[in-house]
Each structure stands twice: as C-alpha cells, then as structure tokens.
C-alpha cells in the first residue's frame, strides 16, 4: 500500500492512488456517472484551486491541489455487473496497487467486492453509492475497513415508515419488494418501524422477481384484505410497473424518491395515469406519495449545497442527484481524514475516518457522521410529495416530476437503524 513517500511526512507531497470502479458504460452508466460527479465535486470543493474532473469515462485522472496531496484516480468500468466489478476491483488492487478503493453502485457489486476482495487486502474501501442496507447493517458484510457515507434503503424505509405511521391516517399496509437482498432488507425495515405503531396492521409482505409486471392480482388481494396503503421496495426495473398498477387503486403509495433515471420512468407512469399536463394536486389525490428522499438538490438550503449545485450544473449541466450527496461526502471525508491523519497509511486513514464527523457536506456543515459500530454515516432524510418539474429546473432536471418542498425532515438518529438492532458492532 504505502509506496515510497507515502509512509510519513507532509501530506502535500504525497500521492494518493484511488481505485474507483463504477458503471461508466451500458444502459446504467448514468448511475456511475452521477456517483462520480458527487465524488469529483467533493474533492474539488475541498480545494479552491482545482476543478472537478469533467470526463466520466474509464481512465486515469490526476487531481493535484497546491495545498494537498496528489490524487491519482484510476477509474474502471463495471458495466453494473457484479462479476466485472469484482474483476476490476481485483485489477485495481493487484495491478495498480491503489491505496484506496472507491465504488460499487449496484449493491450486488459492492457485496461481491466486500466478500471476495476486502478480506484479502488491508486498504480502506469507500463504498458507495450502493444503497442496500445490509452492507453496513448485517454482520455478513459490515467491516472495519468498509466505510459508507451514502444513505441506504433502510434509511428510506425507516423515515418513510415513520412518517406513514405517524402522520397519515392509514390502517392496513401491504408491502412489496423485489426478491433479493435489496427488496427483502427494505421490507424488513418498513415492517420493523410500522410494527411499533399499534394502530397500523401489516399484511404478509409479497416479493416478486425483478422486472415483474403482473401486480394486478396481488393488488386485488391486498385491497380485499383491507389494505389502504402500499409500499414497494423496488429499483427502476420494477418500480414503474408497480406504481403504474398501484395508482389505479384507491390506496396510499409510499416509498423512496429515486434518482433521475427512475424518476423519468416513474414520471412516465404518472403521465400514463394522469395525462400530459397534471398538477401537484392531481398527484396527491392519486395517492402517490409522499416519498422519502435521501438527498435531492432542492431539499436543503445551505451555502455548501448552493455552491455544490452551482459547481455541478457548471461542470455537468445538471443538478446534483440522489446518489451524488453520499459520494460528495465520502470524498470530502477522505480529504478531511488525510488532513487529520499524521500520515497517509491505510491504518491512519481508517482511524481518522472511524467515527468522523464530516464537516463539508451537501446536507450542511457536519451533516454526516460515521457511526463507530458499522462505519455508516448518519444523516438527515426528508419527506416530500412529487410535483411537476418547475421551469427553473427544466434544463437541469430532465424528468416530468421532481420532489416538492420537504413536508418533513427526519432527523438522522430517527432514520438510522438503532444500535441495538444492528447486526454488527465494531466499536
């Protein structure tokens, strides 16, 4: 790890090799790109004299701030495929001997890497924006060298469920989820919270294949059983079919607000149901929402966020997206760690990151804080209804709908999995 010069001494002369692996090709390249946008902006924000890297395709990039170490970023493409992710992560460690791993967009990829790569090396792995809760919640995956700033599905679920349970008058909830760790994990968390409120009944949750499209029968069943609210833990591959069907029923639909691509698709479903020129009211009446959001540009109002939005629009011609806040933060945290640490050795970085309160984050100063137990950064979440995209953002947010004003902000400690429910404890 610590190649010459990195051992000790003034960080400014050091070179930090960051091995990044994200999907930068194929249908889902957008995910990788928005993750990278966040990371690059995070780095650039910390130093006044550098710009964010503006190419988002695989290759080698150097960020060399005057008053900081030289960052060499080797970016490999995963094409959103776990096997490729594993292979390239391996390449990065073995062939490029990087000091730090960063990446993992699909939770499958992240978990594959944690399973097969992390145990065999001793460098820190900055995981994200993979959103599966288990990565930091279940002891199967959480690891002292794996840090995640990105918000995850359990947080969606908890903050969403809490709001549903407390603020809305519903009696019976039917939960749906994709039949994989992502879906099952999410559903578990919804259930966990909803169970606590005694005036909400939860029906046996139903799981389906990713991309399943025949929800009608199941919705009929649910309604027969008296469900007046449904939640779906799905990615964009299934969400549109699910929402599309659910909107035809007289039920409250809740879940997590997604990133641009899914929102486009979801928007499509909304247009399909409500016609071209719908209003915020139409949506609310149709029972769609409210949704929780991990981060959206218009949910937070603070100088850092403003600067970030400008920087992002400046460089990438779009507002920062759901996945970017977490990666912005992890970059910012890394820089902070290098500043705090007396040297750039893995151990030093790991020590510095552990339990760190990250100063510069899109959710405001000290907006994220790493938990000792599982190296997951805590942060606030918000709840908002989808609204038609306003003129202001037509250029920079290319979807029919966007999150409206937050109707509620869920404090970090509310949103996180309570310590006593954590599968792992490293503190």
């Amino acid at each position: 790890v610590t190649d010459e010069g990195n051992g000790t001494g003034d960080p400014d002369e050091q070179t930090i090799r960051i091995g990044a692996f994200q999907p930068t090709s194929g249908d889902l390249e957008y995910y990788g790109q928005s993750a990278l946008q966040g990371f690059y902006c995070g780095l650039a924000y910390k130093y006044d004299d550098v710009e964010p890297v503006d190419t988002l395709s695989a290759g080698e990039y150097t960020v060399d701030p005057a008053d900081g170490p030289t960052f060499e970023i080797i970016l490999e493409d995963t094409a959103f495929d776990p096997d490729t992710a594993r292979r390239v992560a391996e390449d990065l460690v073995v062939d490029e001997d990087v000091d730090i791993l960063f990446g993992g967009t699909s939770s499958d990829s992240a978990r594959r890497v944690i399973d097969t790569i992390v145990p065999e090396t001793d460098i820190p792995y900055l995981c994200g924006p993979a959103a599966d809760g288990d990565i930091t919640v279940s002891d199967e995956y959480c690891h002292e060298r794996v840090f995640r700033a990105s918000e995850h599905t359990s947080m969606d679920a908890r903050s969403g469920a809490r709001y549903v349970a407390e603020e809305m008058d519903i009696s019976t909830v039917q939960l749906f989820g994709s039949d994989n760790a992502f879906g099952r994990g999410g559903v578990e968390n919804y259930t966990a919270v909803l169970e606590q409120s005694d005036d909400v009944e939860i029906l046996e949750p139903r799981f389906t294949e990713v991309g399943y499209s025949e929800f009608e029968g199941m919705m009929d069943e649910a309604v027969d059983e008296g469900a007046d609210a449904v939640g779906g833990v799905y990615t964009f591959q299934t969400l549109p079919q699910f929402i599309g069907t659910a909107m035809a029923y007289d039920v409250q639909i809740f879940g997590g607000f997604a990133e641009l691509v899914t929102t486009q698709v979801l928007g499509g479903a909304v247009v399909e149901a409500l016609g071209e020129d719908f209003t915020a009211e139409d949506i609310e009446e149709s029972g769609l929402g409210p949704f929780t959001t991990r981060y959206h540009w218009n949910q937070y109002d603070n100088p850092i966020n403003d600067a970030y939005i400008d920087m992002n629009v400046e460089t990438y011609e779009q507002v920062p997206d759901l996945l970017s806040a977490g990666t912005f933060t992890i970059a910012s945290a890394l820089v902070q760690a290098l500043e705090e640490a007396e040297d750039a050795s893995s151990d030093a970085i790991i020590d510095a990151l552990t339990g760190m309160t990250v100063t510069d984050t899109p959710k405001g100063e000290n907006g994220y804080q790493f938990r000792e137990e599982n190296n997951q950064a805590t942060s606030d979440m918000t709840v908002a209804y989808p609204v038609p995209t306003s003129e202001e953002f037509e250029e920079t947010w290319d979807a029919p709908i966007m999150p409206g004003e937050p109707i509620e902000t869920v404090a970090a400690d509310e949103a996180m999995v309570p310590a006593d429910e954590l599968g792992c404890d490293r503190s």
Partner: protein, 416 residues
C-alpha cells in the same frame, strides 16, 4: 505387429506436434507480456493483447466450450443446457469449501471436491440423458435447455446456498482453493489473484511469479490434462462410434451398436469436464452466481466459442475462447482497451471535435465502451458466413481435412 505400431505411434506423434506448439505458446505468453510491458510498446500491448486475467478466462471457458463441442460436435446432439453442468461444478466446490455439502468436511482439498462435483455432474447428465436421448435434433436441444432453465430457477431461489441466492454464493475467505497433488502442501498452489500463492525469485532465477501467474499455470495444467483425456477418447474406438452416430444413427444401430449407451457415455463425459471447468472458474473467482454459471447465455458463449474455433474439432473451441476473450478485452476498458488507448492517443482537439453533433468522445462512449456484444455479434456473423468451419476447422481443411469438414450434413436431422 510392430511395423504398423510404429506407424500409428508416429502418426500419434504428428498429432501431438501442434499440441506442443500450442502449449508452449500458452506457457510463454505471460513472459512475453512481461517483456513487452518494459518496451515502448507497453501501451499498445495492454490495449491490443489479451491481459493475463483474460487468458485465465480463456482457460476455463475454453475447457467448457471444449466439453460442449465434445458432445455437440462429435455426436451431433446439441446440448443447449450445458451450462447446468458448468454450474453444478461451480456451486459444488463453493458449497464444499464453505462446508455446506453434507459428507464433505470443510477443508477437503479442492482437487477432491472438484472431482466430486464433476462426478455429480456426470450423474446428473445420466439422469437428464436418460430422458432426453429419447429425442433427437431440435427437440433434444430444447429439452436439455428446459432442464437447465429449471435448475437455474431452482438455484436462484434456493436459500441454502446463501442468504441471497439470486446473487449466488461466495467462498468464505480463508478457504483458499489450491490446485495440485492433494495432501502434499509443497505441490499445491492456491489460485485467485489475491488469495493465490505467489513466489518471488523462483529457483533464484530472479523470476517473480505473481499469484495471477500461479493461477494461470495451475488452471492451465488442469485444462491441458482434461483436453488430453477428451482427445484420447475422440481418437479411440468409442470416439469413432460417436462420429458414426453423428453420421447415421440408424445405420450405427443396424451394425450392432447400442447407440443409447454410447450417447449416454459421451454426454456424461462432456458433463464431467464441463463441471471441471465450472469448478476452476468458481475457485478462481471465489464464488459463483446463477447468472454466470447456470444461465443459458453461458451455454450460448460456449456455442459462440465452439463455432468461431471450429465445432467438431476438439481444440478449436479453445481458440474460439481466445478470440472471444481477446475481443472482450480490447473492447472493454478493463485494464485498458481500445477506447482508453484512443483517448490517450488522440489529442484533446480531436476527441472533442464535433462530427454531426457527436464528439469523438461521445462516439467512443456510445459505440465502444462496453459494446463488446455488438462487435462480437458482427464478427460471429462474419465467421458463420465466411469461415463456417471456424479457425481450426479451416486450417485443418487446408491440411486435408478432418472431422470438422465432415460436420455439415450431420445436423440435417435438425430439419425434421
């Protein structure tokens, strides 16, 4: 009678000569790469030559494709469900390594579990064959595909393999799988790029053997042995019966062959080696998932490799695999490739030059990165049209032709 003994020994020797060359080629390749990387041609090399990691894929996928060819190319029965056996081998070693296979204690040497897994596949093949060999042609192909897909669905939802079966199972760290002589540590070499063994300054020659190289050679040995076993069978009386079945099953029966059992034997054998390939893959990759083992597109890959290499020529599929992975490598950005190369080579001005509202950069991004399937499709079509007998097949034709040439006509049974 000695005279003709010599004769066939000599001819056997002639058979082996090309093999020697090929084996040498594979054996020296890593060294060649190493050397090239110290020359000015380094970037070209890493852009246009298959990296070692891809060569390892060539080894196990090649073996899989060979096993596929063994049944499909020589008996003419297309085994569209072959991935099922590959998957069986892969999952067996993974589960065994995690001590999840009843009766197979944790820590059983990989060599042993590999053979056990292959034997299991052998048995499974007998079961599937018993039903499927009542059919011929497309019906046989579809039935085997059917079985494989059912197994695929099963494995994807079988909670026992892991907490998250759709994603597959990984070998718990610590259980490093090594290839060599079981129970003789000095003759065992752990595979895997990270968990594998590496040797510095081997025999004091100043040569360092990385874990990757170790894996490459270790897998190579197994693949080589498997190949020779299958090659032996093809050149044996049994192999001739396989070909006779391909040529005219009815007549083969009429001259006294109980073709059913010959087909079963061939099918099970090919399943055995498919499983070996799967086991090697799982050991090297540290796990397996339904989609990279049991899924029918894995069979499709073997099919492509077999065709490109030359179906009905045992070694052909290996070259098919080489070609296939080579392409994957050049077209993927993994450890550099064409697009990375271009981006480095071409000056910024060119890259950002607009051509019909599309910069070269966009072009590369859209049409090169991760678009290997597109170009493989094109290459594949060209092969089918112009090199029908595949790489090796065509070469052998030049040399007077062997089985490969005779494959056509055979699958006429696919018409009815």
């Amino acid at each position: 009678m000695s005279s003709s003994d010599e004769h066939w020994i000599r001819s056997y020797g002639r058979d082996q000569f090309p093999h020697v060359l090929v084996v040498l080629g594979f054996a020296l390749y890593p060294i060649l790469l190493g050397v090239l990387n110290r020359t000015p041609l380094a970037s070209e090399a890493s852009a246009f030559l298959p990296g070692l990691t891809f060569m390892i894929i060539v080894l196990y996928m090649g073996l899989f494709a060979i096993s596929f060819d063994f049944i499909s190319g020589y008996t003419g029965y297309l085994s569209f469900g072959h991935a099922a056996f590959y998957g069986t081998g892969a999952y067996f070693v993974v589960l065994a390594a995690n001590g999840q296979v009843p009766g197979v204690p944790e820590g059983t040497p990989f060599m042993v579990t590999m053979v056990l897994g292959a034997t299991l596949a052998f048995v499974v093949a007998l079961a599937i064959g018993a039903v499927s060999f009542r059919l011929t042609g497309v019906y046989f192909a579809m039935l085997t595909l059917g079985f494989a897909q059912v197994m695929y669905e099963f494995i994807r939802h079988w909670g026992y393999v892991s907490s998250n079966p759709t994603e597959g199972a990984t070998i718990s760290s610590g259980a490093d799988l090594s290839i060599g002589v079981p129970f003789v540590d000095s003759l065992n070499f752990a595979v895997g790029r990270l968990s594998g063994d590496s040797f510095e300054n081997v025999l004091g020659l100043g040569i360092d053997v990385s874990a990757t190289m170790t894996s490459y050679y270790a897998l190579g040995i197994v693949v080589l042995l498997s190949y020779f076993v299958m090659q032996r069978i093809i050149h044996s009386p049994f192999g001739k019966v396989m070909i006779a079945i391909r040529e005219n099953e009815e007549r083969a029966r009429a001259v006294g062959y109980n073709v059913f059992w010959y087909k079963m034997g061939a099918f099970a054998t090919s399943a055995f080696f498919a499983a070996i390939a799967g086991a090697l893959f799982a050991a090297y990759a540290g796990g397996a998932s339904p989609d990279n083992s049991f899924y029918f597109l894995v069979t499709a890959d073997a099919l492509i490799m077999a065709i490109i290499g030359g179906i009905g020529t045992l070694a052909g599929p290996l070259f098919g695999a080489l070609f296939h992975e080579w392409f994957e490598d050049i077209l993927s950005t993994e450890s550099d490739g064409l697009s990375t190369y271009l981006e480095q080579l071409l000056p910024e001005s060119v890259l950002t030059a607009e051509v019909a509202g599309l910069t070269i950069n966009d072009f590369i991004g859209t049409f090169l990165d991760g678009r290997a399937p597109l170009y493989l499709g094109i290459i594949f079509v060209l092969f089918v049209l112009f090199v029908p007998n595949g790489l090796l097949g065509s070469i052998r034709d030049r040399l007077g032709g062997t089985v490969s040439k005779r494959f056509p006509a055979v699958l006429d049974r696919y018409r009815r």
